[in-house]
């Protein structure tokens, strides 16, 4: 029992619990019990009274206020329970989470305003003449900007929200939930889904081998960083930011300050990438949407940032393809590509950390008699990936085994997806709140930032684009 409690104190395992609970509740639908139909789903709106409503018609009587209230109370209870499991101050968490939810949901609603979000096929139906065509995902960008404003201009508010500001918990829960909808999508095109899996794996093998070696060399040779700094920096810039920097720091026995400083930098630049790359992908890759999706996974260095970039890229590119090419690609495949790449990257962090630990232990710092156990691979394995794999495989298996229920299973995944969207919005806002540019400048981060900027914008982004292009060009999502 105490072991279970200890496990639940990690956000990684807690996100699995949160995601699986939402998934299990959604799974009532195919079996005749609609347990999540009351969830509030934002819609593209002109009339504010129609901006939100319950997901299922069975709960139409709740109206917008009722469904929103139910959604808030459900998430508040669920996440407060999670906070208790994590050993956080429950009262502070509940207060902070309420504010976080309110701000994130408002941004989500603002992003669904018709003049911002409507796609070409919606404009006439909404009775408007023009729109920015950003889709409802524009709400994520607004949430990020609002979070950045709080984090950088209102430090007192940021401190009040601190206990509840947990982007990693939010995004990992979202990824576990997302496995279900990706499972139902994979059934629609199994060949394409397996191609995305293999190509995603191939892309990250390449990224690990090429990125890490070059960044490590640049940091050591041209910037004069010591091995203790260069290895976590190379992993942080080139692989998957925070987790990789920390895993590498542990593998080579760096002092804790090293990966923490690197992680700070990673989070900051992930925000910069998040703001720039989806729009670059939309400008140049709208004919190659899967390349764009993989690129987000390879280039943006935090889970939250990458998934968020994938979501924005998908909505921008789908809207543009519909407007300019007359092609309506099925929703979810671009984001699935980003997710696949990112999940494989996360899975391999443990393997890479293990390899580095062996090399450091046996060749670089030669500690006689010291051995590295393969158990370390499991210890560093990101556990939320298990939740993602479970929901994905369960939904895929059920859809294949019960073809008569495929529609209901897809509807169940849709209900769970409402919470995925909410967790995304919370992630964006939280990323903004925790990103404090001024504090980093005060730290004197110049030299570290220089190597980061040089490698990221001079090399990583472009090699990531090249690898994505090699493995994903010519592969397209199914057409509606």
């Amino acid at each position: 029992m105490s072991r279970v409690r200890a496990l639940l104190r990690s956000e990684d395992w807690m996100s699995v619990c949160v995601g699986l609970l939402v998934f299990l509740l959604a799974m009532g639908l195919p079996f005749g019990v609609d347990l999540l139909g009351w969830a509030a789903k934002p819609a593209v709106w002109v009339d504010a009274g129609k901006a939100v409503g319950p997901m299922s018609k069975a709960y139409a009587a709740l109206g917008p206020a009722g469904s929103l209230g139910a959604t808030f109370l459900f998430l508040l209870a669920l996440m407060t329970l999670a906070a208790k499991g994590l050993g956080l101050d429950v009262r502070r968490f509940a207060t902070g989470f309420s504010l976080l939810f309110a701000a994130s949901f408002l941004c989500l609603l603002a992003g669904h305003f018709a003049y911002v979000a409507a796609t070409p096929d919606q404009i006439a139906g909404l009775g408007i003449r023009w729109s920015l065509k950003l889709t409802g995902e524009a709400g994520f960008i607004l949430a990020l900007l609002a979070g950045l404003a709080v984090g950088n201009f209102s430090p007192a508010t940021a401190r009040r929200l601190e206990t509840a500001t947990r982007p990693e918990l939010f995004i990992k829960s979202a990824i576990v939930i997302m496995g279900a909808s990706l499972g139902t999508k994979a059934v629609e095109a199994l060949g394409l889904a397996s191609a995305v899996m293999f190509r995603g794996l191939a892309a990250i093998v390449e990224a690990y081998l090429i990125y890490w070696a070059v960044v490590y060399f640049v940091a050591r040779r041209f910037f004069g960083f010591s091995r203790e700094w260069a290895a976590p920096l190379a992993s942080g810039i080139s692989i998957c930011g925070v987790s990789a920097a920390i895993a590498t720091g542990g593998a080579i026995r760096a002092r804790p300050v090293v990966p923490i400083m690197v992680s700070s930098l990673v989070v900051i630049f992930a925000v910069v990438e998040l703001v720039l790359l989806p729009f670059a992908a939309n400008a140049f890759l709208y004919r190659e949407p899967m390349v764009a999706g993989a690129w987000m996974g390879l280039a943006v260095k935090t889970d939250g940032g990458a998934m968020a970039s994938g979501a924005i890229t998908e909505s921008l590119i789908r809207a543009r393809a519909l407007a300019e090419l007359g092609i309506q690609w099925k929703e979810g495949w671009i984001l699935m590509t980003t997710t696949t790449v990112k999940v494989f990257i996360d899975v391999f962090i443990g393997v890479w950390a293990f390899i580095l630990a062996v090399i450091w232990c046996t060749a670089i710092e030669r500690r006689p008699g010291e051995r590295v156990s393969p158990v370390e691979i499991w210890q560093r394995f990101p556990k939320f990936v298990l939740g993602y794999a479970a929901t994905f495989l369960l939904m895929l298996g059920l859809s294949l085994a019960l073809p008569g229920l495929q529609r209901e299973l897809a509807a169940a995944a849709g209900e769970a997806n409402v919470f995925r969207q909410l967790f995304f919005a919370l992630t964006f806002f939280a990323i903004g709140v925790v990103t404090n540019f001024r504090k980093l400048r005060e730290e004197g981060i110049g030299k570290l930032a220089a190597v980061y900027v040089l490698c990221l914008f001079g090399f990583i982004i472009w090699v990531g684009l090249f690898i994505s292009w090699i493995f994903f060009h010519g592969v397209h999502p199914p057409v509606v």
């Binding site: 390449e206 010591s226 542990g250 210890q379 397209h476």
Partner: protein, 70 residues
């Protein structure tokens, strides 16, 4: 077993938010001693890049042959 050996959760995701007094990064970097590249590091870099280039061809062929997705 430590359930979270990477310690990746709390704190690390708070970029620049840590108000606790600690070593300044600028001081850390100033105190960094010069360490020349060891032959084993050079070998690690070369092997990694060579493997990357070779596997690029192999994986591309495998993708195109068995997982075309088109």
């Amino acid at each position: 077993m430590d359930p979270n050996p990477t310690g990746e959760d709390r704190g690390t995701e708070r970029a620049g938010r840590d108000d606790a007094p600690g070593p300044r990064l600028a001081d850390e970097l100033r105190q960094m001693a010069h360490e020349p590249l060891l032959p084993v590091e050079k070998r690690l870099i070369v092997v990694s890049l060579t493997l990357g280039v070779v596997l690029l061809g192999v994986l591309w062929w495998l993708s195109d042959t068995f997982f075309s997705g088109r």
